[in-house]
């Protein structure tokens, strides 16, 4: 469903030096699979997810979503993607209901279909109590539920989530993780980037470890255990990243 081939992103700097944020990244995520992208801060995870979602143009490499090249037809690809980050904003002067209706129109959904879908999502995500309130008055958890509803609105086959549980309370956290599992069981391909190692450990079928813009390890948790000889993901993470960090390796 998601196929990433040799993805590279180079940013120019005012000093005239080029900074490579992502280097030759390749992996694939199949339908029904949750793929965890793991890495320290500044490793290039967010840049990678933005390129995969069509928000950034790759310097080199290709991304295929359902066989369609993101660079060639970004609009079509965006219809197939539900994108969610921790700091995705909402229109504070609109209500979640209006917000969802607006996006339903942008996704070319028919009015009846959209209303039915929105009503279903509001019920499923427990948004009835705040669906008519202004988004500016919502709590962080309520805002994130609204954003999840927006991401799932067009029933996309691919979900890309960048730190979706960051800053949430335990209940909201659990709700979102359960939702991700449900979506995976429904056959969606899910690309999940998070710092919460326990989430990756319990949810992802495969894990990609990215460090300094490069994918340094990939595989199931068992395969990574075998490769490193460590049991816990945090130990695996530290071993692999330290081995690739010249300062820490010494």
């Amino acid at each position: 469903m998601i196929r990433v081939e040799g993805l590279t992103k180079v940013f120019p700097t005012p000093e005239g030096v080029e900074k490579t944020a992502v280097r030759d990244l390749s992996f694939a995520v199949e339908p029904g699979e949750i793929y965890g992208l793991l890495g320290p801060n500044g490793a290039g995870k967010t840049t990678s997810l933005r390129m995969i979602s069509g928000l950034l143009r790759p310097t080199a490499g290709r991304v295929y979503i359902g066989g369609v090249d993101v660079t060639d037809d970004p609009e079509r690809v965006k219809r197939s993607i539900g994108y969610l980050t921790a700091n995705t904003g909402l229109y504070e002067r609109l209500s979640p209901l209006e917000f969802l209706r607006y996006f339903a129109t942008l996704y070319s959904m028919q009015r009846d279909e959209a209303e039915a879908k929105i009503a279903g999502l509001i019920e499923w995500l427990g948004m009835e109590s705040f669906a008519a309130m202004r988004c500016g008055a919502l709590s962080t958890g309520q805002k994130q539920r609204t954003n999840i509803a927006r991401a799932l609105l067009a029933d996309p086959p691919v979900l890309i989530m960048d730190e979706p549980t960051l800053g949430l309370d335990v209940l909201s956290n659990r709700l979102i993780l359960e939702l991700i599992r449900t979506q995976a069981r429904a056959g969606k391909a899910i690309l999940l980037s998070t710092h919460a190692l326990d989430e990756i450990e319990t949810m992802c079928q495969r894990i990609g470890l990215i460090h300094d813009g490069t994918l340094i390890a990939e595989g199931s948790l068992d395969a990574l255990r075998t490769e490193t000889g460590k049991q816990r993901l945090s130990e695996i993470f530290l071993q692999l990243t330290n081995a690739h960090d010249p300062v820490l390796a010494d």
Binding site: T13, G16, T47, S53, E75, N87, Y91
Partner: protein
């Protein structure tokens, strides 16, 4: 069913409008401030003004005199003053009313005086007519010191004996006052009025004693009469105020939504949400642009209504119109509102472009101040007395609308000028929108962690591309359009006399602006000159189509101008200028004319319009729209509404040749032949004798012979057929739109 581009834009602007109108800050800035604050401020100012004046005209002033005799004499003069005796003390309201509605002394001419709006001026005029109470103090020789020291408001010194009826002497009276002190000025003004009336009384008595008619000393009675209608006078007053209000209020209204919908959205993180939806950046920008324009328009209208109402109901109108009846020029209103649209479009586009560049609300606010200044400076130029809607002002952004608004209020309707102003403003706005679209979607602007904004302009980070983007093409078009107009207008004032030197200067201008400039821009952007300027050989059919058009269009255009003269005639002054131009041009050698008027324009204009601009526009628009845009731009660049239809049609033909044959050369050939034949056909040493020999007097006015017309139409049809039948498959291969599709941002860093 997928949405069309227009329905997506429709969805976006409606949502943005709701979002914006729900913001209290916008509502306060747009509605509350104009509807409540401005009337309150204006009425408050009027109250303060009236209070100040009424106090100044009724206050008792002190006159310092050197001796008791002078005091006695002055007391007599003041007490016997008829103006004082008529209403004794006089009420402040009466004095103010009369002073505010009567023209100042010495200004009763056909030229309308500037209204005096400050309290001091009105008070000075008032006390001159009705003097205030004076207290006279004797200070000996220290009259001047008494005034400068503040002991007296004004000083009076009588040099020689006081004037009497019986004598024939002329007495000298010195009045000392302190111009830095408004009370001293007013006291002096009142005293001068008293003395002038006293002198007039003595004169009349002297004349009566000698039985001389007063007309003896006034051989000329001048009666000036203002023949302007009340409507025109009102228009004159409004023309001084309304244009600036329009500018300031349109910008003020548009500023907040422009920031909020661009930098504000970016800062709040909603832009990323929006960008992951299946919507093109241009659609987002256009939706936002519509809302900003609407808010700007609405804000300006509300302000106008508010200020208009205050002027009417608050009594400011009669003061501004100097007591004359105010009749609103209603006929001008629709046109003024119509002009408001391109103005709002221009401001919104510029604000959108500027704010699109900002990553945060605060950053955007910093960029706004220079925009305000840039808008106000030409606006002030426009309201300067004597500024006319001609020459450079005609296409100077903002200034042209200010002057045109003023002229509309005065009842002057020049449709050619209205069209040029509206179209040139639209051109600038189009360039600004294109730039806003380009900046809005830039990665470095969109995500703070995705590179620096500074790198957007560094050439080393540009990636090679076939042609410049639409935004750059429109920006360069707007610059060339403006510069070309200014340079060509300044040639006459630079002392370049008509002749080869003049033609050479125009040719040099064309070569620099339309040749060298776009070429260097192409190199800077790392675009391909070969692709941008379509420097490739055409097929034989391309050459043939060019020859067909080149040999025939000059006859058809001539016929068109003859027909157009019946419904859109040239202004007689412009016609006289063109005929004078034709006179000196005919005195030059045909070969010289062919070089300057055919060869140089054919190369420069084609390389620019059908090369640089067309290639750029093609990166964003389809073939038909690209041809239309370039044709209109070409027509507009001849700066005359009467020439627009014909030149736009020629532009469309040349653009069609280029897009069909992917080569600039057929367009250059057709352009060259058209210009050369147009020039030589009326030249006595060119083709004129030959044409006359075969029954076509090209120097005479009127339609070409029917046979010529039929032949030219047939030849053009052949050219058109060849164009339309050109193999399209060959065109698609290296069409710049196709080639640019993989990397359409010329501000995108090298990858």
């Amino acid at each position: 069913m997928r949405m069309t581009r227009f329905s997506r834009i429709n969805t976006i602007w409606k949502k943005e409008l709701i979002d914006t109108l729900r913001d209290r800050r916008t509502v306060v800035a747009m509605v509350l401030v104009p509807m409540v604050l401005y009337p309150a401020m204006m009425l408050g100012s009027i109250g303060a003004f009236e209070l100040q004046v009424s106090y100044l005209v009724t206050e008792e002033y002190t006159v310092a005199v050197p001796d008791p005799d002078t005091r006695q004499w002055l007391r007599h003069v003041i007490d016997s003053d008829p103006a004082r005796r008529i209403d004794d003390n006089g009420t402040a309201e009466e004095i103010v009313e009369r002073a505010a509605t009567q023209p100042a002394e010495g200004t009763e001419s056909s030229e309308q005086p500037e209204p005096e709006r400050d309290g001091a001026s009105v008070a000075k005029r008032g006390v001159r007519e009705r003097p205030p109470p004076y207290r006279i103090v004797v200070v000996g020789e220290h009259v001047v010191e008494a005034v400068t020291g503040g002991a007296a408001n004004v000083g009076l010194v009588l040099r020689g004996p006081p004037p009497r009826v019986g004598s024939e002497n002329s007495s000298q009276i010195g009045v000392a006052f302190d111009e830095s002190d408004i009370r001293s000025e007013i006291a002096a003004s009142g005293l001068e009025g008293v003395l002038a009336r006293y002198a007039e009384r003595i004169l009349l008595q002297r004349l009566a004693e000698r039985e001389i008619d007063p007309s003896f000393v006034a051989p000329l009675q001048i009666e000036s009469r203002n023949v302007a209608s009340a409507e025109r006078m009102t228009g004159s007053v409004l023309g001084r105020i309304v244009p600036l209000i329009l500018i300031v209020m349109t910008i003020t209204g548009a500023i907040y939504p422009a920031i909020d919908l661009t930098a504000g959205e970016r800062e709040r993180g909603t832009l990323e949400t929006l960008m992951v939806a299946p919507v093109a950046t241009s659609e987002l920008v256009f939706g936002k642009f519509i809302v900003i324009t609407l808010i700007g328009l609405l804000s300006a209208l509300l302000n106008l209504v508010s200020i208009g109402g205050t002027i009417w109901l608050g009594g400011v109108g009669s003061m501004l119109a100097q007591g004359q009846q105010m009749v609103f020029p209603l006929g001008a209103l629709p046109w003024v509102f119509l002009l408001l649209v391109p103005l709002a479009v221009l401001f919104s586009a510029v604000l959108l472009a500027v704010c699109s560049f900002a990553r945060s609300f605060k950053e955007a606010q910093n960029y706004i101040a220079p925009v305000m200044m840039a808008a106000l400076i030409p606006g002030v130029v426009g309201i300067l007395p004597g500024t006319q809607l001609k020459g450079p002002i005609l296409i100077m952004p903002v200034a042209n609308i200010v002057v045109l608004t003023r002229e509309l209020f005065l009842g002057k309707f020049d449709f050619g000028a209205i069209a040029i102003v509206a179209m040139s403003t639209s051109l600038y706005a189009g360039a600004a929108i294109a730039i806003a679209t380009k900046l809005f979607g830039q990665e470095a602007v969109l995500f703070a962690d995705s590179g620096s904004i500074r790198t957007l302009f560094q050439r080393k980070f540009f990636k090679p591309r076939p042609a410049p983007s639409c935004a750059v093409a429109l920006l360069v078009l707007a610059l060339v359009y403006t510069l070309n107009f200014y340079v060509q207008n300044s040639l006459g004032s630079a002392g370049i006399v008509p002749g080869v030197g003049y033609l050479g200067a125009i040719a040099l201008t064309l070569a620099i602006l339309m040749g060298l400039g776009p070429y260097l821009t192409t190199l800077y952007l790392r675009a391909s000159p070969l692709e941008t300027f379509r420097l490739r050989a055409p097929t034989w059919a391309g050459w043939a189509a060019a020859v067909c058009f080149g040999l025939s269009t000059w006859v058809l255009i001539r016929a068109w101008f003859t027909y157009q003269e019946t419904w859109l005639p040239f202004d007689p002054r412009i016609k006289a200028q063109l005929e004078a131009q034709l006179g000196w041009i005919s005195s030059l050698h045909p070969a010289t004319l062919v070089f300057f008027l055919a060869l140089v324009p054919a190369f420069c204009e084609e390389l620019f319009f059908r090369g640089f601009v067309l290639s750029g526009v093609r990166t964003a628009l389809n073939r038909t729209w690209s041809v239309i845009i370039v044709a209109l731009a070409f027509g507009l660049s001849h700066y005359m509404i009467q020439r627009l239809p014909a030149t736009a049609l020629l532009g469309a033909i040349m653009a069609l040749l280029v897009v069909q044959y992917r080569s600039i050369y057929p367009a250059i050939l057709a352009h060259f032949l058209h210009n050369a034949l147009t020039t030589l056909s009326t030249h006595p040493e060119g083709l004129l004798p030959v044409l006359r020999g075969i029954g076509f007097d090209a120097a005479a006015e009127g339609y070409p012979p029917t046979g010529w017309l039929i032949a030219a139409a047939a030849l053009s049809l052949v050219g058109l057929s060849l164009c339309l039948l050109a193999p399209k498959a060959a065109d698609r291969g290296s069409d710049s739109r196709q080639a640019g599709a993989e990397g359409s941002d010329d501000l995108v860093p090298v990858q």
